[in-house]
Structure formats: structure tokens, C-alpha cells
């Protein structure tokens, strides 16, 4: 007993047994969070960290599918990949950025309407927002192919009001890709914004009005800042996956204007040029981080806590 209790220096004879018991339960309590982290941690290490390291290794290999690849610190993979496909990077970021902006412009009013005007139809409206997601991604995107088809009504209407030329088309243009991405990621934008808006106590808006804010000022000074966390979450959930998306560009776009996701897809699976594909993947990741980190810092959410 005394030996056991010798560990913690404060354990003195009178309540030695109790003190030791308390100490062991204390250390047990300290261990619990780590134990809880274990399953997720193992999952992440096995299926994220290790593949990432492997991918990093692959991105520095040299060789060909026929002769086999060899690790040679081939940094030139990065420079050549970027020179060859820089245009695709720029286009990806541009498309994803535009789609994110459009999704925000559509998703925010949508979330606002559901949260503040939805009344008892709130849940129904939320289900309607999610409904398209019950059909597969591919099918939804193919549906847009029909909507934007040259003989479709959308093109017809736009032609007749002169927004696109008489023989102009939507399919196989950047706009079709942006429209597809916007649509496919709309729920990822809408739901986090809805959650942040729904949490706002209506009496805060009344308080703002009581303090001489007209509805527009009340929105700008209270509702908008309080929904910032939702906007940040929504834009990230849209921008990040949209930057790497290749389905929309492949189905709705034009083969001369592909996104970086298409290039990585074909390098990996069709051309079987693993090093370039890996280098492109890493470059895309860094590019996204370079955009996201300053964005989160600028509109950061930490001062919303407490």
C-alpha cells in the first residue's frame, strides 16, 4: 500500500489508502479523453495519414507504368505538372469560387426564409432542400444535361431574351459547369447557414429594432454577424470539394476546358501516370489551403465563442 502510494508525493499515512484511490481515479479520468480519441485516431492514421505519406512518396517518383516507378526525390514532377496544368488550376478555382458565391447568394436567402419565415413548415422545407440528395450525384448532374440542352427551354428562353446569342448554347460552357456545381453543393451551403440562423434568438432582432435599427440595419448589425459561423462553414464545405470536382466538368463542360479534378482523374486511372497525379493532388491541396487559411483568419469565428 505504502509503495503504491509513494508515487504522488502528497499521499501521507492518515488517508493514504483514500489518497491513492483518488489519485488512481484521477489518472483514470485523465486517460478517458485519449481512449475516446483512439478509434477516430486509428482510423485517421490508417486511412488518411499513411495514404498521404504514400501519396507524397509517389509524387516524388520517376519512371513509367511499363518500367515501374522509382523514388528519386523528383521535385520536377511538381514544376512540370504545374506548368502543364496551371490553366486547369486557375479554372478550377475560378469555377469553384463562382459556384460558391452563387450558392451563397441562393443559399443564404433560402436558409433565412426557412429559419425565420418557415413557421411550422420548417422541417418540410428542410427535407425539400435535402431531397435532391436522395438521387445519386451522377444522376443529378445528368439531369442538368437535359435542363441545359441546346433544345431545352432554358436555352430557348435565354436566347429569346437575348442573354445568349441566337445560336449560342449553355452546355459545354463554363457556365454549365458552374451551374452544375452550384446546384450540387447548394445543400452544403444552406444547411450550416440555416443552423446558425435558427439559433438566433428573435428577441435580439427586436432589441436591435428597439435600439433604432431599421430592418436592414438590424440584419447587417445583428443577424449577419451572428450567422457568420454558418457562412464560413457553408463556403468551406462548398469551395473545397468543388475545387476538386470532376463530374460536373466532365458531364456538362467541354473537353477543352476541364478542371484539375479531371486531369488528376485521367492521370491516375487512364494514363496511369501516378507521380504527376500525386503531384497535382498535393498542389491542389496546397492551393486550397492558401485560399482557405487567410479567408478563415479574415472572417474567423473564434470571437463568436462565449
Amino acid at each position: 500500500m505504502t509503495k503504491d502510494a509513494a508515487g504522488p508525493p502528497t499521499a501521507t499515512p492518515p488517508g493514504a489508502g483514500q489518497a491513492a484511490g483518488a489519485a488512481s481515479s484521477k489518472s483514470k479520468r485523465k486517460r478517458v479523453p485519449y481512449l475516446l480519441l483512439l478509434p477516430g485516431g486509428i482510423w485517421l492514421i490508417l486511412f488518411y495519414v499513411i495514404p498521404m505519406i504514400q501519396l507524397a512518396g509517389v509524387s516524388l517518383q520517376e519512371g513509367s507504368f511499363q518500367t515501374g516507378y522509382e523514388f528519386t526525390w523528383a521535385w520536377q514532377n511538381y514544376t512540370s505538372a504545374f506548368t502543364a496544368f496551371g490553366e486547369h488550376f486557375v479554372r478550377s478555382i475560378l469555377y469553384a469560387g463562382t459556384a460558391t458565391l452563387l450558392a451563397l447568394l441562393i443559399g443564404y436567402p433560402l436558409a433565412y426564409a426557412i429559419a425565420f419565415r418557415g413557421g411550422r413548415y420548417r422541417n418540410l422545407l428542410l427535407i425539400l432542400v435535402l431531397m435532391p440528395f436522395l438521387t445519386p450525384f451522377l444522376l443529378r448532374t445528368l439531369a442538368w444535361k437535359v435542363i441545359l440542352a441546346d433544345s431545352g427551354w432554358v436555352v430557348g428562353v435565354l436566347q429569346s431574351i437575348g442573354i445568349i446569342a441566337e445560336n449560342g448554347r449553355l452546355l459545354a460552357t463554363g457556365w454549365a459547369v458552374v451551374a452544375g456545381i452550384t446546384y450540387n453543393f447548394l445543400a452544403f451551403m444552406t444547411l450550416p447557414i440555416y443552423v446558425s440562423l435558427e439559433k438566433i434568438d428573435p428577441s435580439l432582432i427586436e432589441a436591435a429594432q428597439d435600439l433604432y435599427s431599421n430592418p436592414r440595419t438590424a440584419f447587417r448589425k445583428v443577424t449577419l454577424p451572428l450567422s457568420r459561423a454558418g457562412i464560413v462553414a457553408g463556403t468551406l464545405l462548398t469551395l473545397i470539394p468543388a475545387s476538386g470536382d470532376f463530374v460536373n466538368a466532365q458531364l456538362l463542360g467541354n473537353p477543352q476546358q476541364l478542371m484539375i479534378g479531371n486531369v488528376i482523374d485521367s492521370r491516375f486511372l487512364r494514363i496511369v501516370d501516378y507521380p504527376t497525379a500525386a503531384a497535382l493532388s498535393f498542389t491542389l491541396m496546397v492551393a486550397i489551403l492558401l485560399i482557405v487559411i487567410p479567408y478563415v483568419r479574415a472572417v474567423g469565428t473564434e470571437d463568436l465563442v462565449a
Partner: protein, 367 residues
Amino acid sequence: MPEVRDRDAAGGSEEPLAVALSGVTKRFGDVVAVDNITLEIGENRFYALLGPSGCGKTTTLRMIGGFEDPDSGSIRLHGEDVTGLKPYQRPVNTVFQSYALFPHLDIFENVAFGLRRKKVPGAEVTQRVGEMLDLVQLVGMDKRKPGQLSGGQRQRVALARALINHPRVLLLDEPLGALDLKLRKEMQIELKRIQNEVGITFVHVTHDQEEAMTMADTIAVMNEGRIERLGGPTEIYEDPRSAFVAGFLGASNLMKGDRKGTAVTLRDSSTIALPEGLAFGPDGPIQLGVRPEKMSLVATEAAPVGANSILASVVDVSFIGVSTHYLLRTSWGTEVVVVVQNLDDERHAAGSSVAATWLPQHTFVVS
């Protein structure tokens, strides 16, 4: 009532009332929340709207603040008709029930919110926020966020945020409801002090009769969308006039009887004398009331001459410390509560027969 009218008159009859509601009705669907209320609140008053939940007091306050529009009737603030004006167009400010502090702004910006909207210059804002935080005793808290404050401190911020705009009327919606008892008592005194200091009309909604009595100089007791009784705390306590007010404002012993002139015959044929003030009135069935603390207990045969008394037996005795509460039952089965100060050691045991006596002037009549 006369007392109140006098004080209103002293405020100057030419000066328009701070708040005047006339014939205001508000319905929510089929429910009539406020039923044709007419209310006049003088300048520099601490006015309480008191009543149980659902009595329409909060709706009345929200209509003064502009958060609800009345279905009929008009609302005037200092003589100016504000019916239909938006909250931001009215010279009133509100302290909300849950305080409604802006969680994304620090205390300084919360308090400065109204001044910022009115485009008050920065230096003046700083100075006025400083003065306000001083008034509500929150100096040094200006950089904190509402989430970092205690309930009582948030309450003070909400008060400062409203008062800084020099509203002509301050509306308080159950401002102390979320505080614990001790803090609530402190804030009652604090609110009264602040009202004296700033000298503007406070309209205070509460369901707590003690809170209303402690702070308000005029109380409007509301029930089912109407005002049941209006007057100073003492006046409406001593003469509640309706069974609802008698029961809601403190405890009352109510007894039915038959009136003939100034005498009322109770069910056991004993007679009660009415006070002089109630000397005139129609004969017939009547309901009387006496406050428990106005009664005293004596042995059956020792009832003093000139006092009203009823005979009853003691059902239950509880010693509270400052007083002893007796639960009595009369021969016709009515329960009577008597609160006796512990001035002597005399106690009446449960089961004993006693006479509960009181002075005629402590009798009131309810409808």
C-alpha cells in the same frame, strides 16, 4: 384612487401623459389577449403591469414598444400618436425578459448600440457609455462579452443599453425573472434607485406581486386582458375590490354574507360591521374580505367589544419564525388563515376553539 389622482395632478395637468392607451384591443387568432384597455401613465412614474401569465400584460407592453400592432385603439406617447409606428421610430426603449444582449458585441458596443445607430460622435459615445456603466455599477467590464457576465451583470447591461438613449419611457418585460431571489431583491432596490436618478417613466411588467409592490408607485392588476384594479400599492392591497385581486395580491380570507345597512350576517348568523367608507350600498348578498395579518386570535369568550369576530376551530398551526400561521375552519366550513406576530408566548393549539377578531375598518368588500 384619490391619492393617485392627486399625484398625477401635481405633475401638471397641461403636460401630456407619458403613455396613454385608449380602447386598445389585441387578438391572436380567436384569443383576445388585450381587451379594450384604457391606461394613463403620468410622467416620472414607476408603473407596474401585474398579473398572472396570459393576462395580457406583456402584449400591452409590446404594443407600447411597437412590437405588436393593436387591432383597435390608439397609443400615445407624450401626446404624440405612435400607433402603427415601428419600434425604431418610437422614443421608448425596452429591457427584454432574457436581456437580449448581442452576443457578438462586447459590453461597450452593446451599450453603445443605440447611440451608434443615431450616429452620435465617437467621443460622446465613449463618454456616455462610461457614465452609464458607472450608473449601473459595471465600470471596467466594457471589454467583456455578454457570455462572460453573471445574470445580474447582464441585467444591468440590458438596463444601461436602454437607458443610454434617454428614452422618454423605459419598458421592462419581467426584467428580474431570470435572477435568483437574493439578487432579485437587490435589483428591485437598484431599479428603484436608478428610476429616481434618471427621472423617467418606467413601465414594468411582472407576475410577482411583491416585486410590483416594492418598486411601483402605481400598479395595474391585469386579468384576462383587462385591468382589474389600478392604484397605489397600499390602496389596492387594502381595498382590492375584486376577489381576483384580493387573491392575487397577497392572501385574503373571503366570506359570503347577507348585507343589511352597515351590518352583514354570516352563515352562522353572527354579524359583521362594515367600515364607514362602505356605509352605503345595496342590501343583499355580499362578499367580504380580511387580510390574514389584520386578524388576531383570542379565546372564544374574550372577543373585544366593537371588533368584528368569527368563531372557528384551529386546524393547523405553523410557526414561521417572524410570525405564526393559523389555519382555522368556521362552523360552516370556510377556511380562514390568520397570521399572528410572535409578540407573546400565547399559542392556540390545533383543535381548540378560538375567535378571530379584526377591526371593522380592515374589512373590504369584493365583487
